[in-house]
């Protein structure tokens, strides 16, 4: 059954609604990482997550990502950790978080007397923010405000037959319920750009979708490596376009309502492609160095929950939003059952159909949105990765359904 609303969600002062009440501790340069981790570790069972940006050089993309993540609807309060001399605009970030109505404190290690005293001060701040967050109001969220992202990691020859099309079925049901669904990694759509573009809601958007995959193909050609790991080949995948066809099936069959970039939150329900490949000449290396960099971008676009398809067997979760593992390969499921949420590979053993797997994924989304822990959450996974990128803002042709 598709519910109309989700009860007991957290209502943020900026009007957004979250399915978790997470306190985020964010370090703003690697030099503040240890202090931030020492503060966070103490509260890791209490919904306190660690994120951060390692670089010392400022970057518009990483500032936007950190702002989007720290004001995510699943986040109730933030503690920022700065060394003091890094390039990150710490006051700008603190002000943006406070402007969203969330409690936010900033500690600068160089002004706080060093490691021990900053850890001590940080723990006091965490206690105060947790107390504040405990009083935040609960309420009702219509399904039309729910955002679900999808990613695949450790794909093999089963991914495109079981888990990915299963997620596609789930996306079709969620889009029909007016939720927002986001798929991504244009580098893993190389070879299927034309069939994808034909699903755009209008011809201008079709051109935009096509261009985003062409950009990815150029970018990866310069780097000399596609989005293809040795384990993909061990698992029976031979080429980028074969992997792409499998990855593409996560998007289901709904019309594509728009193209967004990291940090853009779709303003109406529907299916969106997240363009993760930087604009301009290749500058900072691979678009996403691993799956968690992609997950962080899906969360920055508002994803309350992530559907993660895996064949070889990934064990990761994420900070901020729960990750639901949909396992494509029945042998992997038996090997890594404790890390998996859905056994989609059972289709290959005739223990279920694609439609049944799609329905099960949607049911797990509702359960997780109501507070049930995913496998990776219960195991304490809170991976987070953020690097350097540069993007041009999206234009009106990218989001034609919103006027």
């Amino acid at each position: 059954m598709t519910p109309q609303t989700l009860e007991n969600v957290w209502c943020r002062p900026d009007g957004r609604k979250g399915i978790r009440n997470t306190l985020v501790i964010a370090y703003l340069v690697e030099c503040a990482h240890h202090v931030a981790r020492e503060i966070q570790f103490h509260y890791r069972e209490q919904g306190v997550h660690l994120i951060g940006f390692s670089g010392c050089y400022p970057n518009d993309y990483s500032f936007r990502m950190m702002t989007s993540l720290c004001t995510h609807p699943n986040v109730g309060g933030v503690l920022l950790l700065s060394l003091g001399c890094e390039g990150f605009n710490r006051h700008g970030l603190r002000d943006a978080i406070r402007a969203s109505g969330r409690p936010c404190e900033l500690l600068v290690i160089q002004q706080k007397g060093g490691t021990r005293s900053t850890i001590q001060a940080g723990r006091q701040q965490v206690e105060a923010i947790l107390a504040d967050m405990a009083t935040q109001p609960r309420g009702t969220m219509p399904i039309s405000e729910l955002v679900v992202g999808t990613v695949c990691g450790g794909s093999d020859g089963t991914s495109g037959i079981t888990a990915n099309p299963g997620i596609g079925r789930a996306f079709d049901r969620l889009v029909k319920a007016r939720a927002t669904c986001i798929f991504e990694e244009t580098g893993e759509l190389i070879g299927c750009e034309q069939i994808m573009a034909a699903r755009a809601v209008n011809s201008e958007l079709a051109e935009v979708l096509n261009a985003s995959v062409e950009k990815a193909a150029r970018y990866y050609a310069v780097l000399g490596h596609g989005s293809f790991a040795p384990g993909n080949a061990d698992g029976g995948l031979t080429t980028q376009e074969e992997k792409s066809m499998g990855a593409y099936s996560k998007s289901g069959s709904s019309p594509i309502s728009g193209l967004i970039k990291p940090g853009d939150v779709p303003r109406s329900g529907g299916l969106y492609l997240l363009d993760v490949v930087p604009d301009g000449e290749p500058r900072f290396g691979f678009p996403n160095i691993n799956d968690n960099a992609e997950i962080a971008e899906l969360i920055a676009c508002g994803s309350h929950v992530i559907l993660f398809s895996t064949g070889r067997g990934s064990v990761v979760g994420s900070a901020i939003s729960p990750v639901i593992k949909v396992c494509a390969n029945p042998e992997t499921y038996r090997n890594l059952a404790e890390d998996m949420d859905v056994d989609a590979g059972r289709i290959l053993e005739e223990r279920g159909t694609l439609d049944e797997v799609g329905d099960e994924i949607v049911d797990v989304v509702w359960a997780v949105a109501r507070g049930q822990q995913t496998a990776s959450e219960s195991l304490g996974h809170q991976e987070f990765v953020l690097g350097y990128k540069s993007f041009e803002p999206i234009g009106p042709t990218c989001h034609p359904t919103y006027q």
């Binding site: 020859g157 070879g191 596609g226 293809f228 040795p230 029976g236 031979t238 064949g311 694609l354």
Partner: protein, 117 residues
């Protein structure tokens, strides 16, 4: 997605287990739905083929002869081209096909990256 399933024969014993999937009628490959051990036999259509060295589920087998240069079809779309003639029942992978877009890198036994182009 219309699947045509073939039953697999392990040695001379037949198991009630579907193990190859023909994803689209246009495909010249089938996908293994279960892992095979060395010497086990797979049936594709009316013919049976022995698999040397075993093969994991998710791998591809030619379901008809494929000529060098011909496109490999999976899900009804091309996923690359044959780099040599491929016999029906043969494993279709890095050794006999390549991408039409980007080279594929794999980790070899000696832990060196190998580029397949």
């Amino acid at each position: 997605m219309a699947w045509t399933r073939s039953k697999l024969t392990f040695g001379f014993e037949s198991f009630n287990m579907a193990t190859t999937i023909h994803l689209s009628p246009d495909d010249n490959i089938v996908v293994l739905a279960g892992s095979l051990k060395d010497g086990e036999v797979v049936r594709i259509g009316n013919a049976t083929f022995g698999i040397k060295g075993g093969l994991g589920l998710g791998h591809k087998l030619a379901c008809r002869p494929i000529h060098k240069g011909e496109k490999i079809f999976k899900y009804g779309v091309p996923i690359g081209s044959a780099t040599k003639d491929i016999a029906a029942g043969e494993h279709v992978h890095l050794q006999n096909m390549k991408s039409d877009y980007l080279p594929t890198y794999t980790l070899e036994a000696e832990h060196q990256f190998k580029k397949t182009s």
